[in-house]
């Protein structure tokens, strides 16, 4: 560990460590993002702890490591659910900010960590932290979501998440030659599925225009479109243009949303 980031308080050696301000005791005092003002980190930290779900995510951690042992992401990345529980329990704002900008995106949200004997929910802490990262348009959220822009677009424009035609050789090299055969004959494969609503290739199942319009109105009225605008201007632009054209085709006035909902 490098020197503690002492900006306000006794000089090193002036007194016992325990007498210093609590934030100086951060185990992540050599954390990245030291250039980010403390107040900004604290604001985001408070936003996480102010979430209505917070009181049910963390009760106290005695570092048994069961969550880490159960965590699939811990096997593949430099990632540990226990660190989230520890950093949040210590109210380690610097450590929190580093997690918020880096390994918060390494979790697969499988919640295997909820087998914690203390009923902690590190995956739940991460859910809240990700929402805070998204709501605040953090760069880490933008970067994490960049590779999934079409998935966001599908969810927001159709309500379906994955589309069969996402199975493309350059996105699924791990499938080997199989993915080429699937991608080349996708329409045939899909027609082998009995329900007609699943004969789609561009989206998971057939979605009516009414559903799409209602969904768009929900995103618009709940402020979700504004969040997307902050995160990915391109998706926002397409969504707005495609959906508003659809509204226009159906003779709806976007500002008169009550008539659209009726």
């Amino acid at each position: 560990m490098t020197a503690l980031n002492v900006t306000d308080g006794p000089e090193p050696g002036e007194g016992p460590r325990a007498e210093r301000a609590p934030e100086l005791c951060s185990i992540y005092a050599d954390a990245k993002y030291q250039e980010v003002p403390r107040a900004e980190k604290q604001r985001l930290f408070d936003e996480v702890k102010g979430d209505m779900r917070w009181s049910e995510t963390l009760y106290g951690c005695y570092e048994c490591g069961i969550c880490v042992a159960a965590c699939p992401s811990a096997r593949f990345y430099d990632f540990s659910p226990r660190v989230f529980a520890q950093v949040m329990a210590r109210e380690d704002v610097d450590g929190f900010y580093e997690l918020l900008n880096d390994s918060v995106w390494d979790c697969s949200q499988c919640f295997s960590c909820t087998r914690c004997p203390r009923q902690n929910n590190p995956g739940g802490i991460i859910t809240i932290m990700r929402e805070v990262a998204v709501n605040n348009g953090l760069t880490s959220a933008k970067d994490a979501l960049k590779a999934y822009s079409r998935i966001i677009y599908k969810v927001m424009s159709t309500g379906t998440q994955v589309a069969p035609d996402m199975l493309q050789p350059d996105f699924f090299p791990d499938w080997g030659p199989d993915v080429v055969a699937v991608a080349d004959n996708l329409d045939v494969w899909r027609r082998m599925v009995p329900p007609e609503t699943l004969h789609t290739t561009e989206l998971a199942w057939d979605v009516s225009e009414k559903t799409r319009l209602e969904l768009y109105m929900i995103w618009k009225l709940t402020g979700n479109l504004e969040i997307i605008e902050q995160l990915d201007e391109g998706i926002f632009m397409i969504l707005e243009e495609v959906m508003e054209e659809l509204l226009e085709e159906h003779g709806y006035d976007i500002d008169d949303f009550e008539s659209v909902i009726d």
Binding site: A147, Y148, S149, R150, I151, Y153, D165, M166, L167, Q168, P169, D170, F171, F172, E202, G234, I235, M237, I238, E241, V242
Partner: protein, 154 residues
């Protein structure tokens, strides 16, 4: 033919680096627009291209087409305000021509600038194109362009 890290940038075209598009001056007051080699490389295998309808007008910086690859979607932006006078139906029917022939068969729309627009002033040519895209690629983390089977740009 200009080239930056295996990315082809034909000399006779005009470019808008930030929007990652090329434009061809048809000499009759219309301009063809398409995605650059760099744009098609960033997108990966393109599976859908939906150009806007003929007769629509777009403002500068707005989308003239939606392009989708496996997991990516993005707008193709117009550098200047224009009316769409033609669109490439072949690109909509088989969007992979945007990968195979980004500068020829893969043109997306033909646009007529609205009155008062001066396309040449907004676009770059020559050395500025290479410098601009070199910087753009560094920013996007694209090391070099990727060309599929049958790629052509002559």
């Amino acid at each position: 033919m200009g080239e930056v890290n295996n990315c082809r940038l034909p000399d006779d075209l005009h470019y808008h680096v930030e929007y990652n598009v090329w434009l061809r001056d048809n000499g009759d007051g219309t301009w063809d627009l398409g995605m650059t080699d760099i744009a098609q490389s960033l997108a990966g295998a393109i599976i859908h291209c939906r150009p806007k309808k003929v007769g629509k007008t777009v403002r500068a910086g707005r989308s003239i087409a939606t392009v989708e690859s496996g997991k990516w979607v993005g707008p193709v932006k117009a550098p200047f305000a224009a009316e769409i006078v033609a669109r490439n139906d072949a690109a909509e029917a088989d969007a992979s021509i945007l990968n195979r022939s980004p500068y020829n068969d893969g043109w997306i729309v033909r646009m007529k600038p609205l009155e008062g627009e001066d396309p040449s002033a907004l676009l770059v040519q020559g050395e500025a194109v290479l410098e601009g895209f070199k910087e753009y690629m560094a920013e996007k983390g694209l090391e070099e362009c990727v060309h599929c089977d049958g790629f052509e740009c002559d």
